[in-house]
């Protein structure tokens, strides 16, 4: 009896092992049929900007899941899964180059998605030499000028200020003060703002620049307020820094309008300083804030996936980036001819290829975003006329 039981168990085990083997082989064969496109995110996964890095990579991961779940990226008869990886570069240009090399040796990515200008700018010069497409969350004009055919800006530009400045003029504002940090994006933003404000008949009464690593802004803000501006404009400041600046501005008694450029999105600012201090702050609005069927559905999905998290445009833009690549690859019908892929994006990208409706046009290596003037009202970022 005992011998019988042992025999049955032994045969059962043998059958099980054989089944597992053949299942594994057949799965591997299926997997072999579906290729792999590696997509690497380089951004701040630690340090003071880690929250942004986490938000961006979360968007990319969801995009990869959605792309792979609907058959992957199709080139002719072959389908490719998008495999995503994240490497931490903090906010260091040197680390971004080191990690770029590490990613190339480990993963040979088709594309990099970089989380900020400090990572994007050093990598631009390597795109052709090392053979990768660079999708950059960078406002800096130099990212696309001079043009590198392998670099695509997937974010707002420093020039994206027009509707907001028009709104400020409609409010009767004439004199503005400009606050900038010493980093390239903020300096360029300030130059563009001065130029655009002047063309609209306004006056810049003062401009103050402070070191980019500052954490207290009382003195620069005091200096700016000494010029008696009616409103303050500041660009290149993500939410947390903008929140600190705004707090200092209000503590010093300034009641006028404050306009923050593209990097400041609103939710984190409201979380940090509350509705009252954030009330009336003007921001650069996109279709994300304006709303629409696709983006509203996506926002609902985001809220369900990340309850309580201040995720917003940064997440949505990161989510769009892999779809941008997908559109280019499928239109160009190649995974190796990089310039063909980025050139194809200009015709392939449209309202249908964009899952949220945000990235509906690519022109000269830049995603064209529809812009709207928005304000923070009652803790919410809402479009204004």
């Amino acid at each position: 009896m005992k011998k019988r039981i042992v025999c049955v168990i032994g045969v059962g085990l043998l059958v099980g092992i054989c089944a597992a083997f053949f299942l594994g082989v057949s799965t591997a064969q299926v997997a072999k049929e579906r290729g792999k496109i590696n997509f690497v995110y380089l951004g701040p996964m630690s340090g003071s900007a880690a929250a942004y890095g986490e938000e961006q990579f979360a968007g990319i991961q969801l995009a990869a899941k959605d792309i792979n779940g609907t058959g992957g990226i199709k080139v002719g008869d072959k389908a490719y899964d998008l495999q995503v990886y994240a490497l931490d570069v903090e906010e260091s240009p040197e680390k971004s180059v080191t990690k770029m090399n590490e990613a190339i040796s480990l993963h040979r990515p088709l594309a990099f998605h970089v989380g900020h200008s400090m990572a994007a700018m050093p990598l631009k010069q390597f795109a052709k030499e090392k053979g990768f497409i660079l999708l950059g969350v960078s406002e800096v004009p130099a990212f696309t000028d001079p043009r590198n055919p392998l670099c695509v800006r997937a974010w707002v530009k420093v020039a994206d200020q027009g509707p907001m400045l028009d709104y400020m003029r409609r409010l009767g504002i004439n004199k503005i003060g400009i606050l900038a940090h010493s980093g390239e994006v903020s300096v360029k933003w300030a130059q563009v703002c001065k130029d655009m404000w002047g063309k609209r008949g306004g006056t810049v009464v003062g401009e103050v620049t402070y070191p980019v690593e500052s954490t207290d802004f009382t003195s620069p803000v005091t200096k700016l307020l000494s010029y008696n501006p009616e409103a303050i404009a500041a660009g290149g400041h993500p939410d947390v820094r903008a929140a600190n600046i705004l707090k200092n501005i209000r503590e010093l008694g300034f009641k006028g309008k404050v306009f923050f450029g593209g990097a400041c999105r609103g939710p984190r600012m409201v979380n940090l300083i509350g509705n009252e201090l954030a009330e009336g702050t003007i921001l650069v609005g996109t279709a994300f804030e304006k709303g629409g069927p696709k983006i509203d559905a996506f926002k609902k999905r985001m809220a369900g996936l990340y309850p309580g998290k201040p995720y917003g445009l940064v997440y949505a833009v990161a989510y769009e980036a892999p779809f941008l690549l997908k559109a280019g690859v499928e239109q160009a019908k190649t995974v190796t001819e990089l310039e063909k892929i980025t050139a194809a994006m200009e015709t392939a990208v449209g309202p249908n290829s964009s899952p949220t409706g945000l990235f509906s046009k690519v022109v000269n290596g830049e995603v064209e975003l529809n812009l709207y003037s928005v304000e923070i009202r009652n803790g919410q970022v809402v479009p204004v006329q």
Partner: protein, 284 residues
């Protein structure tokens, strides 16, 4: 001009608290504790955590919790990390402190996440002082910092425990010969240093926001302050702190915010050239 001076005084007062904690430990170990900035950061996080539990109406309880928690942490770090390394070369303690920086930052990120947090102050409103607008929060920050500076000075120079700390900082073996328990004095110093870091963290959290890397900037400032004031000197740290604060804010007023660091660290270098021991030398 008064606005700039008041801005500078308030911020300097926080940096002086950080510098006092740093200089106390340096006076007794002869090695700067590079993890001190992380203790300030932890003070801020404990402030956020306890404010969430007890509410802003019990603000002083929040201060007490942070002080006690960081004092306890200071004792823990002294007993289990710095004491075993006291007989090792100074570089070992330096490296251990650096390691602590990464451990503490990563631990905080794991517990509280990567988002920046705000440490709301219970004091609302502002007053006009000599033409400058000052919030009640900043008045409180400056007042509390000055009070702590006075208390620490009195403690170190007027109490027998303070005398014991000074004796051990002069000579550990000499102190032992007269019956002073040097381990106990060193532990007390670390506890005091931690307590000061706890308060500094909360006060700094009102001025800026709370995030894992927030300790680096005040630590850098604190080092500049204790070098100018004299390593190990409490009066030197106080004078050095206000000196650097005044230079920074006046350089913003007269020139530009971009020159603040040039003038502040330029003053540091000049002081070291003229008086290498700093303004008031080592703790006696």
């Amino acid at each position: 001009m008064s606005q700039y001076l008041i801005n500078g005084l308030v911020l300097s007062s926080i940096y002086i608290l950080v510098a006092l904690g740093l200089t106390l430990v340096y006076s007794i170990l002869d090695v700067p504790n590079f993890a001190h900035g992380e203790l300030v950061m932890l003070g801020a996080y404990i402030g956020v955590f306890s404010l969430g539990i007890v509410g802003v109406t019990n603000y002083f309880l929040v201060l007490v919790i942070s002080v006690l928690a960081l004092a306890a942490l200071g004792l823990f770090l002294e007993k289990f990390i710095f004491r075993p390394l006291r007989s090792a070369p100074p570089a070992t303690m330096f490296i251990a402190a650096l390691g602590l920086v990464y451990i503490l930052q990563s631990t905080v990120q794991l517990i509280w996440g990567k988002e920046w947090l705000s440490l709301r102050s219970p004091f609302m409103g502002a007053i006009k002082l000599a033409g400058a607008t000052v919030t009640y929060t900043r008045v409180f920050i400056f007042s509390l910092s000055c009070l702590l500076m006075i208390l620490i000075s009195l403690f170190v120079y007027r109490t027998w425990l303070g005398k014991g700390i000074r004796a051990v900082s002069q000579s550990e073996s000499g102190a032992a010969l007269v019956g002073i328990n040097s381990n106990r004095m060193i532990s007390l110093t670390f506890a005091l240093s931690g307590a000061l870091a706890g308060v500094a963290g909360i006060l700094l959290g009102h001025v800026t926001f709370v995030f894992p890397a927030m300790g680096f900037s005040p630590l850098l400032r604190a080092f500049a302050i204790i070098i100018i004031g004299g390593m190990g000197s409490i009066p030197g740290a106080i004078i050095g702190g206000f000196f650097i604060g005044a230079i920074e804010t006046l350089s913003v007023a007269v020139f530009s915010a971009e020159y603040a660091d040039i003038f502040a660290f330029g003053a540091l270098v000049l002081t070291l050239i003229i008086r290498p021991r700093g303004l008031m030398g080592k703790l006696e």
